[in-house]
Symmetry: C2
């Protein structure tokens, strides 16, 4: 079984380092479609063109049924599926979540995790992910303005909290590197909206860590941040866009919404390649 | 509509400050019952005896169906329902989660939240909770050993990360105090396993914040921590127990498991009252 970072690398090389965030907004759906139907159809349209899709589980009310169509469409289109669930829990609870979301029956290839509870809250996930060839992305520096409140706090020993989390992610990942890429199965979420020097510093602290970078498009992220985020091999970065890629319109979806998804995806690919 | 802290106060005064964590362990179920059936029946047994029940959503695979029986049994028994989901997400996602988990249709009275993403990730929850008379518990100092990794880090400006989170919780809660108790709808999760001086310091920083304290029983929390955690009015603390209260046996559940729940609940009540 190929490792998650290797599968992702091959897809990024072939299709561009694009991840389509599937966050269905009720007010931007076609007027004659349900949320779940739209999400599955939008995913079916985008999946053959992107490396990964990232359904935000919150928008499906955490219901498996809602997200099954998305996961199925992603597989049909050959894209990886990252469940954006930002879980973080202790011991046996983390194990229960990990088995449910990354176990043998799961349609997901990776999940996002919150590190606030510490290393022992991540370990059950690492064990399950390693066993099933899946991946993890730990929140390090998020793309929202409030990420400053805690993540940017200066520590008494030097550096910031998000830098400390970056060290933890890198250390935990050392034992889980491999494959052709040499990258770890434990990735990091680093917002494209972060200052360039912060992104460069985080890459320095996490040389073998795959980055998942939200904040492209609607949130105003700087595509130049990509250069700062790439690893020594010139890769290891997946850029995620949600609204700008899956809802590139105002109000209810226009009749030609499928073609608009194609156009938005192509524009993003060109933008990232520059 | 009475506020969440006031409703909780009345129940704690009448029944003791006990919260039953509903984390169904497959290996400790009666051999002839499904997880969901057992969880609903255990909850039906305990709900009339405790102030609140806290289903851990992970153990239900995040499925609404599984947890509905628990929520229904809790209401029948007059206990409040705290959904232990530890959510933390940005803007519109937080709003989607908050509406799903605390909106008009929700069976939950409160949820647990993770603060790593910062204040703007908590605000949509506060807005929804205030509108519907519900409550929140933000993770401040968790009960697992790994809580040291980040939560105990010393900050350059003095104090620890969890103390900084405590300040944030207290500040955000100031505008949401009221009712007879004068307590805020924004509570804090503070593990009973924390050192007594840490608990006392967190109470000092959060004088009007309801505490939810896991770690009683199986995790080895010190009941003396209760004294340190109580607020100026001698209350504001809810103690949560899971394994020691809902699975007080080894292996598969014995035939008299219902009576064992009653006995464990009574023992905990006496223990906390001492």
């Amino acid at each position: 079984m190929q490792s998650f970072p290797d599968r992702l690398d091959q897809l990024c090389a072939a299709r561009g380092s694009i991840c389509a965030g599937i966050d269905p907004r009720p007010e931007r759906l076609p007027t004659d479609m349900t949320r779940d139907d739209w999400a599955a159809q939008a995913c079916a349209r985008l999946a053959p063109q992107v490396a990964a899709v990232k359904p935000q589980l919150a928008f499906f009310g955490d219901r498996w049924a809602g997200v099954q169509g998305v996961a199925h469409a992603a597989r049909e289109g050959g894209a990886l599926v990252i469940a954006d669930c930002k879980r973080g829990d202790i011991g046996s609870t983390a194990t229960a979540y990990a088995e449910a979301l990354l176990g043998a029956e799961s349609p997901y290839d990776a999940v996002t995790l919150n590190p606030y509870l510490g290393g022992d809250s991540l370990e059950p996930w690492i064990e399950v992910a390693a066993r099933h060839g899946r991946g993890l992305y730990v929140l390090v520096k998020t793309s929202n303005p409030g990420s400053r409140d805690l993540q940017d706090l200066e520590l008494a020993g030097g550096g910031t909290l998000c830098e400390r989390v970056a060290r933890l992610v890198s250390e935990l990942g050392e034992a889980h590197r491999g494959g052709e890429s040499g990258r770890s199965l434990i990735g990091a979420v680093v917002g494209l909206t972060a200052p360039l020097d912060v992104i460069a510093r985080l890459r320095e602290l996490m040389p073998h860590t795959p980055f998942l970078m939200p904040g492209y498009g609607a949130q105003g992220g700087d595509p130049r941040a990509l250069a700062a985020a790439k690893d020594a091999a010139g890769g290891g970065v997946l850029v995620s866009a949600s609204r700008s890629l899956t809802h590139p319109w105002q109000g209810a979806a226009p009749a030609d919404w499928r073609e608009r998804l194609d156009a938005a995806c192509e524009a993003m690919r060109i933008d990232l390649a520059e």
